[in-house]
């Protein structure tokens, strides 16, 4: 008899090592110093996830003239009143303390004014300059400093480890642990834990053009859904207007070049090399992300495109020296990839950037499954229908820290090793090994088709017809994936196996996005229905809630609770 998996135990298992996972590890180890804490990540600690990729910065009401209430109102207005108001309130309240913790306790150094005080910059959609930053590489500073502190604490690391399935207790009453795979060997291990934090990051990587890190493939959301948890607001996928496009053969396609270029005066040009934004919005290139993305998509649909199917951004009418100085990182990045951002036209395309939706969770990061906590982009409700630039890293770090605190406080009274459902673990091992039993098929073609379907029929502009096409096409792709195998010659660091598993997660979550988008028959925030272009009454707003049962996704809607403020009201006195 072969042993299907080894077993081990840890008090706290954290899945993901971005801003949420690392903060949770630090906070849990501070409040529960005797707890055995393990952090698992698909690559190397400190190098995965999207917190590291943050360019813009971190919103926090730190200035005397700013206020928590103002940040809250901006977040709710930006979210088109779909936010869970308690979550948004927690975000804005905790953000300044998290900045002080990052600086005073962890060693981040954010940009200063000449007098030594903190510099905070303007960012779209906000009524106050509150974005804390470190140049245009804020995320590197945050994750480097967090990773160092995690190394120092001796927190147990499972690097190059993939989380495969959340395993409930035998009696089904709670979470018993997580089935993991050591990617370096391809072997399985059931890690029993008293508490598990889901912090793998979402990441809309099922779209043809996408910004997130390559390790992200919606695994956390897929595992949560399969474990019976509801996902909310899944139709809300944010597109950023300016991703590089250089053909399907390069991984650079989809990666972001920053918003500040448009703010500084950069022009967007069609394939005909003419500006077009002024016909869509008075602010032209400086309109908000959603408006610019929709305008660009419309131009692309008209066929006004460049050789790779995109449009252009150009800075060549601006002072070259200034562009080089202000956007050093972006100029260098483009140069390395063969593009001239200073004197040329760089081909760009709107690119899928962030998922506002995710696992439903409470302000203390508990989910409805006892023993499972969640934080960061795996969760939904904080941002509503649209996320403000600068609220993403605030979300991951604020709620990661809260999760660590909450888990440490929860352990003494509730922390037990539940007896795992070993049959469920065995079934998950069998499902993960499934592609080794199949021969034939061509996986890269499935991925490319999924990219196209999601981009064309479930992307920036949608209607009932396109979403119905997407539903049928993604169902077909799932069937095709199940007929596509992997050679079982060497399971160690077998990226093709992981590509298959990534695709399985991406397909499941694509289906959820499509179903939620079909149910939301109005347009708001990131979700635009061409057949329902208006926003319905805000007072009766409802949010979508997706669940999985017997392999079928069902969507219900729930009323948004306006427990802090109602549409039309404000918390601001002036």
């Amino acid at each position: 008899m072969t042993i299907e998996f080894e077993q081990s135990q840890t008090d706290v298992l954290i899945l993901g090592a971005g801003g949420a996972g690392l903060f949770a590890a630090l906070h849990a180890s501070t409040l529960a110093p005797d707890a055995h804490i393990t952090i698992a990540v698909k690559g190397l600690l400190g190098k995965c996830g999207c917190t590291r990729m943050v360019q813009g910065g971190f919103n926090a009401a730190m200035a005397a003239e700013d206020s928590i209430e103002r940040h809250f109102m901006d977040t709710i207005e930006g979210g088109k009143w779909l936010n869970n108001q308690d979550l948004a309130w927690t975000l804005v309240n905790e953000a300044p303390r998290r900045i002080r913790e990052l600086e005073n306790e962890l060693g981040c150094f954010f940009d200063r004014n000449p007098d030594g005080s903190l510099h905070q910059k303007a960012f779209a959609g906000q009524t106050f300059d509150r974005t804390v930053h470190k140049g245009d590489l804020t995320g590197i500073e945050i994750i480097n400093r967090l990773a160092e502190q995690v190394w120092k604490r001796g927190i147990h690391r499972l690097e190059d480890h993939r989380a495969v399935e959340l395993i409930r207790s035998k009696d089904g009453s709670g979470l018993a642990g997580v089935l993991m795979m050591d990617m370096r060997t391809g072997k399985f291990r059931l890690v029993q834990a008293k508490a598990v934090l889901l912090a793998t990051g979402g990441g809309p990587t099922m779209y043809k053009y996408h910004t997130p890190s390559g390790d992200k493939s919606c695994d956390g959301m897929a595992m949560a859904l399969r474990a019976g948890l509801p996902l909310r607001d899944m139709e809300m996928v944010q597109f950023h207007p300016t991703g590089l496009i250089a053909g399907p053969g390069t991984r650079i396609t989809g990666t972001i070049i920053e918003e500040g270029l448009r703010g500084y005066g950069g022009h967007l040009l069609g394939g005909d090399k003419q500006r077009f934004m002024a016909t869509y919005d008075d602010r032209a290139e400086r309109a908000t992300r959603d408006i610019v993305s929709r305008a660009m998509y419309s131009e692309m649909r008209k066929g006004n495109i460049g050789p790779n199917g995109g449009l252009y951004i150009t800075m060549k009418h601006l002072d070259a020296k200034e562009v080089r100085t202000r956007f050093k990182g972006m100029v260098q990045r483009c140069h390395d990839c063969g593009f001239d951002l200073v004197a040329g036209d760089v081909e760009v395309v709107p690119t899928a950037h962030y998922m506002m939706g995710g696992v439903e969770f409470a302000s203390d990061c508990q989910t409805e499954l006892p023993g499972l906590f969640a934080a960061g982009e795996d969760t939904g409700g904080v941002h509503g229908a649209n996320r403000l630039g600068g609220n993403g890293v605030a979300n991951s770090t604020v709620f990661g820290g809260i999760a660590g605190d909450a888990i440490a406080r929860w352990l003494p009274d509730h922390g037990v090793f539940r007896e795992p459902d070993l049959d469920a673990a065995k079934a998950a091992v069998a499902a993960t090994q499934y592609p080794f039993r199949i021969e034939g098929g061509h996986m890269p073609a499935i991925r490319e088709k999924l990219y196209d379907v999601m981009w064309e029929d479930a992307g920036i502009l949608r209607d009932a017809g396109s979403l119905a096409r997407a539903r049928a096409a993604v169902d077909d792709l799932h069937g095709e994936l199940m007929r596509t195998g992997i050679a079982d010659d060497n399971r160690a660091y077998n990226l093709s196996w992981h590509d298959w598993l990534n695709l399985e997660s991406q397909i499941l979550i694509s289906k959820v996005v499509i179903e939620a988008a079909l149910v939301r028959d109005d347009s708001r925030g990131a979700h635009f229905r061409e057949d329902f272009p208006e926003t319905r009454d805000l007072e009766t707003s409802r949010y979508t809630k997706a669940t999985l049962a017997d392999k079928a996704i069902s969507i219900t809607t729930e009323p948004v609770i306006f427990n802090r403020i109602k549409p039309g009201e404000t918390l601001l006195s002036d």
Binding site: R52, R100, E101, N104, F109, E141, T250, T255, D499
Partner: protein, 240 residues
């Protein structure tokens, strides 16, 4: 000269292994990471490599490209293809997991051994320190702070090759940024941690790290700074 195809020789296996050669179509926009991806997706699904961010932020995808350590996501094929040929190997000075994947644990352990993490005496309930960006020490710290921990300097350093206990350029570069951080309170323990032949005295100023750093940082200058400061502290008897 641009040809239609490139010939790519890649290290296959662990510490023991051999090179295997593939023919890859040449594209206009094509990085070395794209070449590796093409081989894994279309020619040999068993090829192993590591990457994450795709844009030079995470430092996961560094490899040895035609004998030199480079990040591969930002290395355009046109700049390295030598007569239409590329040879790829895992980073030097780190244990090979498989093919192009290395185990970086020792690199991060040394970062910690050099006390490469901040020690402050303020808390989250206190205001931020007022530090002028023009302050000379802050400028010194800022000059080295954008390290992404890709390990390229470590793989290039001959001293690491000779002395497995040598802390290496990246760890000491981080230590130097902390020595210059006015908010940090672990100056002496840090100088003790980086003193000696496994630390700053081990550096022979060959500057391979400076030449290869994709972020244009200068660890040699940082290490020289550490030598100076630890010498001063030793003369004052602070390191004993």
């Amino acid at each position: 000269m641009q040809t239609d195809q490139i010939s790519v020789s890649i290290w296959r296996g662990g510490e023991d292994g051999k090179y295997q050669t593939y023919r890859v179509p040449r594209l206009e926009s094509q990085t070395v990471l794209d070449v590796v991806t093409y081989i894994q997706r279309e020619l040999d699904p068993s090829l192993s490599y590591r990457f994450a961010c795709r844009v030079g932020v995470c430092g996961s995808c560094a490899m040895t490209v035609n004998g030199k350590a480079r990040w591969t996501c930002r290395t355009h094929v046109s700049r390295v293809a030598d007569g239409g040929a590329i040879t790829l190997a895992p980073l030097r000075n780190l244990p090979v997991v498989k093919d192009l994947v290395v185990d970086m644990a020792v690199f991060f352990d040394k970062w910690e051994k050099a006390l490469g993490s901040f020690v402050g005496d303020q808390t989250r309930d206190q205001a931020l320190a007022a530090v002028s960006p023009a302050d000379p020490r802050r400028r010194e710290a800022s000059a080295g702070i954008e390290c992404i921990g890709c390990g390229i300097c470590y793989a290039t350093c001959d001293v690491v090759d000779w002395n497995k206990d040598y802390l290496g350029p990246a760890a000491m570069n981080r230590a130097w940024t902390l020595i210059n951080d006015a908010r940090d309170v672990a100056r002496l323990p840090r100088l003790q941690a980086i003193a000696g032949d496994n630390g700053c005295l081990g550096c022979h100023s060959q500057q391979g790290c400076v030449e290869r750093c994709p972020k244009s940082l200068n660890p040699t200058v940082a290490i020289a700074g550490l030598k100076r400061e630890s010498m001063k502290a030793a003369l004052k008897g602070e390191l004993s």
